[in-house]
């Protein structure tokens, strides 16, 4: 065989063709008795339906968690989960926290030192000392 081929799998590029929201489930836990979840209860009563309507691709579940602080827990497509304790927060702040969880990718927070990270080859190519105009010394 003069030529054979290597088997690989094409790499995903979320957002290049289709965009898949990485947050797939949001759990809202509240307590009906404790004062720390007063804002959470207000959020569930007033704003949750609008939030769910705006984000139809997220599965939303509401469940009580008696005598505990209210928590929003997000499950992501990569299998990770992230939770935020929203005790003593008001309705608006809880909505912001829910949006923060919705927009997260589910990856661990990490510092990016390079401005651009790409799996594509550089358009200009790598500089080569063997090509181009020769420098006369």
């Amino acid at each position: 065989m003069p030529l054979s081929a290597l088997r690989t799998v094409a790499k995903p590029q979320n957002g290049v063709g289709a965009f898949i929201l990485q947050c797939k489930k949001l759990e809202f836990h509240y307590c009906d008795w404790a004062g720390s979840s007063r804002g959470m209860n207000a959020f569930l009563k007033s704003s949750l339906s609008a939030f769910a309507k705006r984000n139809p691709s997220i599965e939303i579940s509401v469940s009580p968690r008696p005598r505990k602080h209210p928590v929003i827990r997000a499950h992501y497509i990569n299998g990770n989960q992230r939770s935020i304790c929203v005790r003593n927060m008001t309705n608006d702040i809880i909505r912001e926290k829910a949006e923060l969880l919705r927009d997260a990718s589910g990856e661990k927070n990490q510092k990016y030192n390079k401005p651009v990270t790409s799996i594509n080859e550089s358009v200009r190519g790598i500089w080569s000392p063997f090509h181009g105009a020769k420098i006369q010394i």
Binding site: T8, D32, L48, S49, K53, P56, I60, F130
Partner: protein, 472 residues
Amino acid sequence: MSELLALAPDETKIGSTQPTTEFLSFHWNSQFPSLLLSLPLPLPFALFSCTTSPFLMKRIRFSRCATERLASTTSNTTTPRRPSCIHNVAPSNYKIRLQTRFQSTAAAASDAIPAEMDAGAAEPVAPESKPSASSSRAHTRRRLPLEQLPSPHPHSASQSIKLAALRSRLSLPERFPLQTLARTLVHPSADADPAFNNASLSILGANLLGYYTTEYLMCNYPRLPMSVMFAAQDAYIGPKALALISREWGIEAAAAPGGEVDPGLLQFKRLQAGSGIPGVLKQELPWKWNKTTTHKILATDEFGSDQKPPSPHDLARTPVPVQEAAQSFVRALIGSLQLHLGTPLVKRFFRDHFLSRQLDLSTLFDFRTPTRDVSRLCAREGFEPPVARLISETGRLSRHPVFVVGIYSGKDKLGEGAGSSLDEAKVRAAAAALKAWYLYRPLEVTVPSSTENELDAKKWRPNMVDCGEVIV
């Protein structure tokens, strides 16, 4: 605990009055599919407002409250129920029932959905309290508990929040029915009935995927060697790639299939740990002992595989690995999109989800004798015989020499490569020259499927057809 049980029916009575029914009808309009799971919300609020005991909360199963409530409202519906076996059916209404079974995943009109959901809600809980009413009906059927169904009932699909979220996540329109989406998630290993599993849809989807990928590759890269073509197909729509895609879509697998399982989970019979791969999946012998490329093109699948892939219908009741079930789901989704939404949307879906993936075709080549191939290629195409010339070098006597070699045919440079020895550089240059030839891409391409259902074929431009790879 008895107190609690006594409380729950009261609560359902309270819930059946004004506020909760309003809430239910509100989300049964299917405007907010993902709000479905928030169903327990009004019940606990109503409950706590009347009891005000924090210790009561954690004992009550809110989901059970909800289902009991739903069952109590609409227990006298006359929807067709799924029998255990189609041969057990009474002969009087056999045809009608068979027809109903086969249409069970057909698209429902949007205004018919709430009624159907209503019925579906009544379906799971058999009203044992009223045996006389059910027996007085003309068509008495044995009502199966959900646990005995091999896969979720189609009616339960419209209530699954996971399915609604999945449809929205894939940006599928509302007119794509959730019942069909649920059916694509049922592998034949879970439900052997071809009317309820995804076998037929996955066959259609596999053909469509193969067609669109092949035409994209063949029109855009007309000189691609067949082995590389097979590998590229495998990279885009091979079993591994499809399983990966389904994972990126957020598909979760059910632990075990069954009628009581959420229809938004992938239903298949799992391969037990330690047990070998079943005989259907591993076929030791090739189709024939003929292994030529021509044979692969003519007789095997689009990946040029040596083994015959099992037909989806053969996998009924066979435990399968996750990858097998996941790829059958992706294929079945494509097939059902074709049936429900038509060709243009399938093409767009394919472009967005499959062709948008990054695959560097130049990394797929594995040359054994590139220099010989280049000289054969030049002889075939009538170019001057290729010559390798040293372009530049550094550190020939050092520990890290670098040579840059070009392959020239007359005055044309076909390829160039750098290596730490003269031979390595020459081989790399020859491989680069071959890749430059094989990866030629025409500027304007019209794929054959673009002229489907078009009245004027004037936009069609014939594609380049190459005479093929170099044969040595």
